[in-house]
Symmetry: C4
Subunit: 250 residues, 4 copies
């Protein structure tokens, strides 16, 4: 199987932009994607289960359950702007191999919907964070980098691990153009403040006003989901390991 994909609908989209929002440092991308889906009432059109996810299900007191899954949502914009595809999920793949497979599959799906642009959001772990956190960027090409810098970001120097890094590399190879927005965060907890600033920058790029008054709710929802998965603990441990290797995980 490798990846089991259920596509519920093939939406007609206008030059759509892919927004990546899987769990990572500070859970910035994950909170941002959850909030965008909630605010924009984005519609789920695909579910993806990878054989490289963890093999378990988590149940809750209300009798609900969740198991590792990635989802794609679309939002049709009615003010003439470009449509959005939001890649949301409660898991990245467990292995490097699985990460490539997953990223490759998602890119193939959105390519078919005419998508050639992408933005990934992430946290950039710092030991100290500015009151208004800096936002760093990396891009597939100089033109995209300039677009990101024009939003007030700085050039990121270092390693981008995980899906956010893959998207730039693998996406670039498949003809996508775009950039990563990496916001400073202590990275130890779901960071709603960092997410607010990342969303403000994203909104500027999309020319879209994003109401963040309910952002704390999305952060809490994200926290609950990831806690039930044991992911918050895991990523903290992961980070420790990586610090020893002097790397940054996004």
């Amino acid at each position: 199987m490798v990846c089991t994909i259920e596509i519920y609908e093939k939406p007609q989209l206008k030059d759509p932009i892919l927004i990546e929002g899987l769990p990572g440092i500070g859970f910035v991308a994950n909170i941002a994607a959850r909030h965008l889906i909630n605010e924009l009432k984005a519609k789920r059109f695909a579910e993806i289960v990878s054989a490289s996810f963890q093999d378990f299900a988590a149940t809750t007191e209300s009798g609900g359950f969740s198991s590792p899954v990635n989802e794609l949502y679309y939002w049709k914009r009615e003010d003439g702007g470009r449509d959005l595809i939001i890649w949301y999920g409660n898991s990245q793949a467990l292995t490097t191999f699985g990460q490539y497979e997953l990223c490759g599959k998602v890119l193939d799906i959105v390519l078919e919907l005419g998508c050639r642009s992408m933005v990934s959001i992430g946290g950039f772990k710092k030991d100290e964070v500015q009151p208004i956190p800096f936002i760093y960027s990396a891009a597939t090409d100089q033109e995209s980098l300039q677009e990101a810098l024009d939003l007030g970001t700085k050039i990121m120097v270092g390693h981008i691990f995980g899906i956010a890094g893959l998207l730039i590399g693998l996406g670039g190879l498949k003809g996508f153009r775009g950039f990563a927005l990496l916001v400073e965060t202590l990275g130890m907890y779901p960071d709603a403040n960092a997410t607010r600033h990342a969303l403000a920058t994203l909104g500027k790029y999309l020319n879209l006003t994003i109401d963040t008054s309910k952002l704390e709710a999305a952060a809490d929802e994200t926290k609950r989901t990831l806690e039930s998965f044991g992911l918050i603990r895991n990523i903290v441990e992961e980070k420790k390991k990586e610090e020893e290797q002097m790397r940054w995980f996004i």
Copy 2:
């Protein structure tokens, strides 16, 4: 190869229910499935060998041998009730990746036979067990959960690892409906008593009287098979490791 599948027969079945019975905590599912196959004289129609099983064969004093395999059995019910498919085996896959592959293959096979419902049975490891052990449930959807609660079960809260957890997640994605029955067990040995109560609850759901007078024989058979595989020792060790991680394995 990934999975080598031999299908000996494609039975015509009436709205069949898949019963999962692979080895796990307390070996409850495995004993239950073995007993059902024995009692109902269910017929084997498929064998599955996964490249993610262990690469060995175990031989016995009578010259017989067994190697890691999963099997599918069917039972045609003659009293108007729904037919059964029983998923039996002496092994789960060694890797997360293999578990997904195996579960995906079995779901694909039974989907083709018109199966859309499933029940998985498992042990829920407790340090202390009631004389009449509690049975917990988790379900793919609220309606299925209600069916399980109506049988006298409680809502399960926690993690369901292995095939039982995957069945809910991956099965749900593929359109299956059903629930897991998780019976309290100390989990240190093949637990015939826990299995008896799980079978009673399953029988109530299926509206089927299951004679459990020969259940000890099925438990002994299961114990012998798994001992020759070294699995009983392994799962005990596995459990220890997992306790440290504060997880439950079913």
Copy 3:
């Protein structure tokens, strides 16, 4: 790729028997296969390279090189007996998954040539060995077991790891019939004496007189090949690890 297979010829064979001869405990199978190929002037018709082999090449003082490979040879018998297919190689796969893939591929190739029978040869590690070493057997079915017992073998009780164990399990599932001949060996070095007795028993079964006067040469050739691969050291280490686990590797 998984496995890259080059088939140089599709021989017409008369009810052929597959003889497995990969490196294992005491290198019994490997020496036996090498010797049979030399003596019978068996003809190589296929080469298999698996992505689960080690990724290296070993060079020798004469400028030759060898890299991990498996080979299939055939021998057409002219006295009315059944033809042989000999599975020879300098490597088993590094992973369980690779072992299943490799074994599955070889069985598929020989199935196409009409092969339904197999004999695997192996060493059975003992701390003490009889002057005339005992030979143990395990079989895919009772009839094959009886054939092996009629050759003067004893029933093997325990675990058969690696390709020899897989052949019985996976081969049985694919409709093959046959047995494993497991000869006592200290297992610490290429054991020409154990191989001589294994070949005598195999010869009895095949009704074939095998001249073993040049067996030491085949043992030396095997030793040189495996030493240049570092395999002899590795298997000794492997064995130590397995002794701790109270298992036998063949």
Copy 4:
């Protein structure tokens, strides 16, 4: 996906020779390939991303980024000699399995372009190196070995790990002919001097004058790329581990 391949052009080539130049001991192959691409103005016609590469991107102060990738370049020779295909990259695969996949894919691509010959370049780690370093060779066959010896090389005795070793084994199986040129190096840093001698020998074979006045620039470029990837540190550690195992990595 396993490997994502983008082929930008299918050049018509005259009996081309594949030159392998991935990072390894002393980075000799990598510097040599980079220099040849620069000097010959070779044209990139394919990019390959393997799911067995590391899942990250590295960004630089100028806002550029690089992620693990392999590339194929061609050079059409106008003096009547044979054309070249240069296999360049910033990564080998992380796993043995991935190395086989990658090597198999590249061989398949160049086979389609009519390529049947190959030369791999590598470092041969020594504790002491001659002022004019010795060059060792290993070959797919005796005729190719003689060609290499005629260039003034010595016979290599030992293990060739990684892509250079695979090329000989897997390439030989697929019908390629060629040899590896392994130049003495301390192997602790990108070794421009060793590379210069390797290129001189390669030039003699190709009957091609290679201007190496800008070789230091290629070495610096290689060093910067690999440092940004953390590869220089990694290979040094890798080497330590391998020394303990008494192996050579190329």
